[in-house]
Subunit: 270 residues, 2 copies
């Protein structure tokens, strides 16, 4: 770790240990209530692919499955190119602690080409981030790593158990301190939404993300152009039943470009 590196770069750093394996370490800076923030784990899984010497292209799709709570400490990341085509590549990643799998992931990387394009999911009309207050609730460490400015759907003021009837949220967010966007940080940013169940029910139910997918619409060029600006993250719950709920979300930059879409399914206990 360098004195000058951004805290995010330290958190996702991986060291090759030979035979297709990398070693990383959970980051106290991104600690959640139990174990690390899931978004940083997802970013570490993606980084294992991005650092691989055989990497072809840029991320198009990433699915991360959280198989067990990570313990604070080191982990082994094992990315494997399962199939390499002319312009696309398919990855399987496993993260292990004490030789047990704690994360499984798949990724698709590809060489992008210029084509016709469209943003059918248009960015909603919202105030600028500069005109909104920075959220102050910092109950857990990882929340301090993000500058969040809520448009709608912030954490409930009162945990009164009243069903809000919906769970839409829109927030501006960027790394704190600000950092130029890349694929790993975009992945972590895709997970910063508060759990839909908490918004919906105003009740602090124990829960944890089970699986998360990110589709990357932006190429490296668009990420560079986005720089360290804010992203608008929108998320909305779809179904809640039998101990699992999901949400669908989108991330735009300040220019209104759709950088990524994301979905996740979350376990809850009551």
């Amino acid at each position: 770790m360098s004195d000058h590196a951004h805290v995010f770069d330290d958190a996702v750093a991986l060291r090759p240990t030979g035979e297709g394996s990398w070693q990383g370490h959970t980051s106290p800076a991104y600690a959640n209530m139990i174990g690390p923030y899931g978004g940083i784990t997802a970013a570490q899984a993606l980084n294992a692919v991005l650092l691989h010497p055989e990497l072809l292209g840029e991320p198009v799709a990433l699915t991360v499955n959280f198989a067990a709570a990570l313990a604070d400490g080191p982990f082994a990341a094992r990315p494997r190119p399962a199939r390499t085509n002319r312009s696309t590549q398919h990855w399987i990643v496993e993260i292990l602690q004490d030789d047990r799998v704690v994360v499984t992931a798949t990724a698709v990387t590809a060489v992008r080409r210029d084509t016709w394009g469209a943003r059918e999911q248009a960015m909603p009309a919202v105030p600028r981030p500069q005109d909104l207050p920075q959220a102050q609730g910092r109950a857990v460490e990882w929340l301090r790593r993000y500058d969040m400015r809520f448009v709608t759907g912030s954490i409930p003021r009162e945990w009164n158990g009243q069903d809000a009837g919906e769970s839409l949220s829109r927030m501006w967010v960027r790394d704190a301190p600000a950092r130029p966007l890349d694929f790993a940080s975009l992945t972590a940013l895709a997970d910063v939404s508060f759990p839909r169940l908490w918004l919906r029910r105003a009740k602090l139910t124990p829960l944890g993300t089970v699986s998360m997918t990110v589709y990357f619409h932006a190429g490296a060029d668009q990420l560079r152009a986005t720089g360290d600006g804010y992203l608008l993250l929108q998320a909305r719950g779809q179904g809640f039943r039998g101990g699992y709920f999901d949400h669908a979300g989108q991330l735009w930059n300040e220019a209104g470009e759709l950088l990524a879409t994301t979905h996740q399914v979350v376990y809850y206990k009551e």
Copy 2:
């Protein structure tokens, strides 16, 4: 294969070949323009998990990555329980032909419990399937395996290259002949939407799904109750750029219950 089995059951049938491997065969009944219909491949990948003797619980999440076009013929399916917890299990699946990976997949299965629930994504108000005509366009074989009744967003009447500005579709669909719903057939049904790019642009662009995710909100009880009724499948494109587009979708039964949500990212060439 039995004389009495439904064509879908024949298509997803797998035969154990020892050492955690199963053998399947592409089905001429579900042939697409090149190779098999992706939905049937996804159902086969899930079936490899469902048939595994160590299976715990029911599917909650499935991600299938299409790494290469399947050739007509046999394939090996290799499901592996990467992590088994008390009530959840994490799977990695690979499908191979000639010892090369053609599909990678991950699945999460879990024991469901009764909890508070809600359908935030409500079924839109649409006519009943009985009051809509059955779609007749049957350019490829797999389309004959489904009874489709479009509410909106059918395949363009004219391929005139006019940008429609949006790509929303809503359709009632079920197996043809009708068949009681299960997790494998629900997976296949989640992929029947026409490609959003074709709807959007009215242009027959070459394309192929790269990755598809299904979140199962229904348990086996709800699938049984749905029986062989129609499902309403809604899908809408989100972003189109750099040779890839995605869509987000939902599946409800006729009672308005949200059975699954689904997302996919598709390669296109122009």
